[in-house]
């Protein structure tokens, strides 16, 4: 589904991703772990199309298509979803209006009929309940004044509404207490299916107890320095990233 080859990206004249290779197939769950500043979010943002980052080399294929040539909205319509590490606050735009526009622009692109206000409310009612969110969240401006945990839940709620094929979750677990973490993990697991893939970025192995990955990769200094099965996460939890970082040659 997703093939990343020798991806280099920089921002403000500084190289952040220094040759990433990664292959994700439909149905798989991959986890990316790594120390602060190693480039995890940069990778996630580049995949979603953030123009702050310049891709200087390499390519990314999504369903065989050149992902990097697509605009962010085209990627979303093609089924890519990024749950932001730091969801953006947008005062003045209600969650409801925002999300209905998003759902409908994606449905339109897929040749589906747009959801009217009534249907949208019905569908979203169910998903909010699942995530333990109060329906009043819909009326509030997007993320404005939300607590950290509420923002993360709101990201997962959006994912549930948009039904992506490739979901990238950037530190969705950070700042969540254990109950919230379980709810979020349930929400993610409910999405797992043979034709979907999930890429989880996290610092903590804790999340991976609930969203069990097929593969774990360690990102350090802009490169994937180690890949393995889910046991790698446990190993990292015990030993930390020391050693791994230093194996990166300059």
């Amino acid at each position: 589904m997703l093939t990343i080859k020798n991806l280099h990206a920089s921002a403000a004249g500084r190289e952040i991703l220094r040759g990433i290779d990664l292959e994700i197939k439909a149905g798989e769950v991959h986890a990316i772990m790594g120390p602060n500043g190693s480039g995890k979010s940069t990778l996630a943002q580049v995949l979603a199309g953030r123009d702050l980052y310049t891709v200087t080399a390499g390519k990314v294929l999504y369903d065989g298509n050149d992902l990097l040539a697509m605009k962010p909205e085209e990627r979303a319509r093609a089924g890519i979803f990024l749950a932001f590490q730091y969801p953006v606050e947008i005062p003045g735009v209600s969650n409801l209006y925002f999300l209905r526009s998003a759902v409908n622009s994606i449905r339109k692109a897929r040749g589906l009929e747009e959801l009217d206000a009534f249907d949208f409310l019905q569908v979203s009612d169910g998903k909010m309940k699942l995530l333990g969110m109060d329906p009043s969240f819909r009326e509030r401006p997007v993320n404005a004044g939300f607590s950290g945990g509420e923002k993360k839940r709101n990201e997962i709620f959006q994912m549930a509404m948009l039904e992506p094929r490739l979901a990238i979750l950037d530190e969705t677990d950070s700042g969540l207490d254990i109950d919230a973490l379980k709810t979020v993990a349930d929400g993610v697991n409910a999405m797992r299916s043979p034709d979907r893939a999930i890429l989880v970025v996290t610092h903590y192995q804790r999340l991976l107890n609930y969203i069990v990955p097929d593969f774990v990769h360690v990102l350090a200094n802009g490169r994937i320095v180690k890949s393995g099965r889910k046991e790698l996460a446990l190993e990292l939890e015990e030993k930390g990233y020391v050693g791994l970082e230093t194996t990166v040659a300059y």
């Binding site: 123009d51 605009k71 962010p72 953006v88 606050e89 947008i90 005062p91 735009v93 526009s101 998003a102």
Partner: protein
């Protein structure tokens, strides 16, 4: 192209040509005022950028155009485009003026309460309403302001609204000034007088619409008296076309505990200036001035407000939001004066601007003149761009770049739009705002 002095003389001589006609119709007190006003204009002349108050607004493009006063053709006018341009709800009072002339046919006057005057100023002058002489031209100062002077000398007609003591009106009253200019550039001088007597409560929507493709110049003056304990909500919608000129002064006089609020929505012409001056001349008066301007291309919009706190315990709230695209330019000048006797004044002023293009520009400044220590005055001005993170966030959810941009612009405007109280008026203004946005301010494709 005539120079400014010649133009000024042209205005004076066209007044000379009209004065007999005016004199035949006007009461004597009014003739005297017109004469004084034209003398004052002859002395003042058109402002130049050397005048402090006009530093950022050059009126040369306006003085270069040879305007004509439209003849009264309201009887033959078919009202093309009018219905569509009006606020949706059916009003009890709607006064329509076409190129400065009252149109009985398109006006609505029904269910009028006893003592409530609503109609054409020119017609009501003939009925010798004492309130008219007491108020007309007593507030907007033609001795210092050239465009107010011109309006005062030349006005043909306009709306007169007098809400008698204690009258509470639910439905907004509509005052509509329409221009139908085609090939010939047309000038009109709409004159509005609104008197809300003690304890009256009303909403007035004053709109300026361009229904013709040509150039018009609306030189408007609105005087508003808000009596003791009266509540007046006033919306002004400026929507002439992008080739037109609009110079308007709203002059508000507030009595004890009077509550006045205004919402000034400007979608811009080629050159637009909205002045709103409120004098809180008795204790406990409250004034809220809200404004929203949206300009693009080479439009220029200038908002000048003066809030004069003359007596104690007054409060004022002022919030103006501006959106400028392309090479459009704007000015916001918010003057707050607190007189020595106005202790316990509470004044707040904010002007926020959103620049959608690197070539758009705004000059914004607060001007505080505080002659009393026992006051609270806060002010702030910001100039910013659309938040690229917010844009990306929206687009990453599948929303197209233009829609994303409009969503953010609309959210920025929402702070002002949500303060428009009557739902029908709000929907109408929102629709006009949306339509302007949807025409594409200037869609920029970004990957």
């Amino acid at each position: 192209m005539p120079d400014v002095i010649e133009q000024q003389d042209l205005y004076v001589s066209s007044f000379r040509a009209l004065e007999r006609k005016f004199a035949a119709r006007d009461p004597r007190w009014l003739s005297r005022i017109r004469q004084e006003a034209i003398r004052s204009f002859a002395e003042l002349g058109f402002p130049t950028v050397r005048d402090e108050e006009w530093r950022f607004t050059n009126v040369a493009p306006l003085t270069n155009v040879m305007f004509q006063a439209a003849p009264d053709e309201t009887d033959s006018w078919k009202g093309e485009g009018l219905e569509r341009a009006l606020a949706g709800d059916s009003p009890d009072i709607r006064l329509v003026f076409v190129n400065g002339h009252y149109s009985e046919r398109f006006s609505v006057i029904r269910n009028r309460a006893v003592g409530f005057e609503a109609g054409s100023l020119a017609a009501l002058l003939r009925q010798k309403d004492g309130a008219l002489e007491a108020h007309l031209a007593r507030y907007a100062n033609f001795r210092i302001h050239p465009f107010v002077a011109l309006n005062t000398a030349f006005w043909q007609d306009g709306a007169y609204l007098r809400f008698p003591k204690g009258l509470v009106l639910e439905k907004p009253v509509q005052v509509v000034y329409v221009s139908t200019a085609d090939e010939t550039p047309l000038i009109s001088s709409p004159r509005t007088l609104i008197v809300a007597e003690r304890e009256a409560q009303a909403t007035v929507v004053e709109s300026y619409l361009g229904l013709g493709p040509g150039v018009c110049f609306s030189n408007a003056v609105t005087e508003i008296v808000v009596g003791e304990n009266a509540v007046l909500d006033h919306y002004k919608f400026q929507g002439e076309n992008e080739r037109s000129f609009h110079m308007a002064t709203s002059q508000i006089y507030q009595d004890r505990n009077a509550n006045y609020s205004s919402g000034s929505i400007s979608l811009g012409g080629a050159l637009v200036r909205n002045e709103v001056n409120a004098v809180l001349d008795a204790a406990g008066a409250e004034c809220a001035l809200h404004g929203l301007y949206l300009v693009r291309g080479r439009q220029h919009v200038d908002n000048q407000t003066t809030l004069e706190h003359a007596k104690p315990h007054g409060s004022s709230r002022e919030l103006y939001h501006g959106i400028l695209d392309d090479r459009a330019t704007g000015v916001f000048n918010g003057r707050v004066i607190v007189r020595p006797g106005a202790q316990k004044t509470d004044a707040l002023q904010k002007n926020r601007n959103l620049l959608l293009s690197p070539d758009a520009a705004i000059d914004t400044k607060p001007q505080l003149e505080i002659y009393n220590n026992d006051v609270r005055c806060t002010h702030g001005a910001t100039i910013g761009q659309l938040d690229p993170e917010a844009l990306f966030y929206l687009r990453s959810r599948g929303i197209g770049s233009e829609d994303a941009r409009n969503m953010l612009v609309y959210a920025f405007a929402g702070d002002i739009l949500e303060r428009v109280r009557p739902a029908g008026v709000r929907a109408w203004i929102e629709a006009a705002f949306h339509a302007r946005l949807a025409q594409g301010l200037s869609p920029k494709e970004v990957l």
